[in-house]
């Protein structure tokens, strides 16, 4: 257990070092959610005037989307970095180290959970500076948990893609899925205002539950009825994608 923790810690530290060693690569991922917040509210802000919109301000409505987008980007970045390590041969060396592959996988994706807090923090600073109301410490704690959970799920998916294609050119495949998982929800408008087919997708997309859990503190109050489906959806995503990623890791080099 202690040895596994040491391996995980080392892999997390290595991933976090990327932030300082290659800041040019990390910076866009940190800035992107804030850019989306400002951009989407500038472009689609008038949509909040449509009858049936349950938030008076589109910016407040869209902040939770930015938080989850940051998580999705961070997860994808983990996969891109893994693909780079595979291309350069570093991953082969990692595979011959005497550590369980599950431990290595946890080390790879744990960094995503921590790194996801960086764009989230930056986004919240920008949002509050632009006049978004403070949702309360409890709501932000739940948001942090859900953001870290979604980043972990997306990192597991990105690891799957990296192990399958073994090249950084697969980066768009990693980014696209996470991005769309966040947006095929009630991201832009309340459920009642979505087109019928979009409403059907948003209803079955588990990220809708996560988004509702993150959004509750911004548009109303935190309730257990909104929180537990979000937690359940996050655990379900991590569990399902984690099982696939473990299977994929165990097949490397076999």
């Amino acid at each position: 257990m202690t040895r596994s923790t040491a391996v995980i810690g080392a892999l997390v530290r290595r991933a976090l070092n990327e932030l300082t060693r290659v800041p040019g690569a990390a910076l866009p991922g940190v800035l992107a959610p804030s850019i989306f917040l400002v951009g989407l509210s500038g472009v689609f802000g008038e949509a909040a005037r449509l009858p049936g919109f349950d938030a008076t301000d589109f910016r407040t409505f869209i902040v939770p989307v930015g938080l989850l987008q940051g998580a999705a980007f961070t997860g994808a970045a983990t996969g891109v970095n893994l693909a780079r390590d595979i291309e350069r041969g570093w991953f082969d060396r990692l595979m011959v180290c005497p550590a369980p592959r599950v431990t290595i996988l946890v080390g790879l994706v744990a960094s995503a959970a921590l790194r996801a807090l960086l764009p989230a923090t930056f986004l919240l600073i920008v949002a509050f500076a632009l006049g978004v109301d403070w949702p309360g410490a409890g709501a932000l704690a739940i948001d942090a948990l859900l953001v870290m959970g979604l980043a972990t799920a997306m990192a597991l998916y990105a690891v799957l893609v990296a192990l399958r294609f073994k090249t950084q050119q697969a980066a768009p495949l990693m980014q696209t899925v996470g991005f769309m998982a966040v947006l095929f929800t009630t991201a832009y408008a309340p459920m009642d205002l979505l087109a019928g087919w979009m409403r059907a997708i948003a209803t079955v997309n588990p990220v809708t539950q996560v988004l509702d859990g993150v959004r509750q503190g911004f548009v109303a109050h935190v309730t257990w009825a909104e929180t537990w489906p979000a937690l359940l959806a996050t655990v379900g995503l991590v569990g399902a994608l984690g099982a696939l990623a473990v299977r994929s890791m165990r097949r490397v080099g076999v």
Binding site: G24, P28, S41, F44, A47, Q168, T176, A187, M198
Partner: protein, 259 residues
């Protein structure tokens, strides 16, 4: 001289296209992501056409189609940038530099490949629009104009991708510009009418060439062919090519000088 540049440029463009077509799964995100975005925008905000001040359109999809094309073309530029950066990282670029071909061909080959991909991207969205009921008010000539503006703009974005790759020299930095694609799109009229954008996005949209590219492609779709938006679209697209191709060639020279 022209033949001396054209032949290796064509050869390198053909090589790039062959490489891309060998792994078409990497081409898919160029159209897949904007297609999904198109679906999300249309599905989530289809009631926006009810807003006062929204132009007369048959549907929100008709309006959004040009925005999706513009987004796709920008992503095409990112892909060409990643491809160039990987050639730099892998050493192929150095071998090209050492080979007896005009060095400008190294840049032009990649950019020309971008032109072909861009035309195909625009055709994809035109077919998609037709399938989902978009009525092309400009007719066949309008469709050809949309492809022309898109292909020229895509050439400019490919040049921008090459320029960034030559400066950054690594693929992870180039792929990191992916979110910035949305920045330039958000401060344009690609997704929403300029009159309904909030400040300061509306101000940026007025000076953003992407607005003119998107409006130039949109006009033949939603309202027939009007000289002003089409000519502005062509001029903006041509301007992008001239500026970014020239900067890419200068970046190449700078890189060779550093080496």
């Amino acid at each position: 001289m022209l033949t001396g540049i054209a032949a290796p440029s064509w050869a390198l463009a053909a090589r790039t296209l062959r490489n891309i077509l060998r792994r078409p799964q990497f081409l898919a995100p160029l159209v897949l992501m904007p297609t999904l975005f198109l679906a999300i925008n249309t599905g989530g905000l289809h009631r926006s056409t009810d807003l006062p001040g929204f132009p007369e359109v048959d549907g929100f999809l008709d309006f959004q189609l040009a925005g999706a094309m513009t987004q796709s073309l920008l992503l095409g530029g990112v892909m060409q940038g990643i491809g160039t950066a990987l050639e730099i990282e892998g050493g192929f670029f150095d071998r090209l530099v050492a080979s007896p071909i005009p060095r400008v061909s190294i840049v032009l080959g990649r950019i020309l490949a971008g032109t072909a991909i861009a035309a195909a991207q625009v055709v994809w969205f035109l077919i998609l629009g037709a399938v989902f009921g978009v009525s092309f008010h400009g007719g066949a000539l309008g469709v050809l104009l949309v492809i022309l503006i898109g292909a020229i703009a895509g050439t400019g974005f490919a040049a921008l991708g090459v320029l960034i790759a030559l400066r950054a020299r690594n693929a992870s930095t180039v792929q990191g510009i992916f979110p910035l694609v949305f920045v330039v799109l958000f401060v344009s009229s690609a997704f929403f009418p300029r009159a309904l954008l909030e400040a300061p996005a509306d101000w940026f949209a007025d000076i953003n060439p992407l607005s003119y590219v998107a409006d130039g492609m949109r006009d033949p779709i939603i309202s027939g062919i009007s000289a002003t938006p089409v000519l502005e679209g062509l001029a903006a697209a041509a301007g992008l090519v001239l500026v970014f191709a020239a900067l890419a060639v200068l970046a190449l020279r700078g890189r060779l000088r550093d080496a």
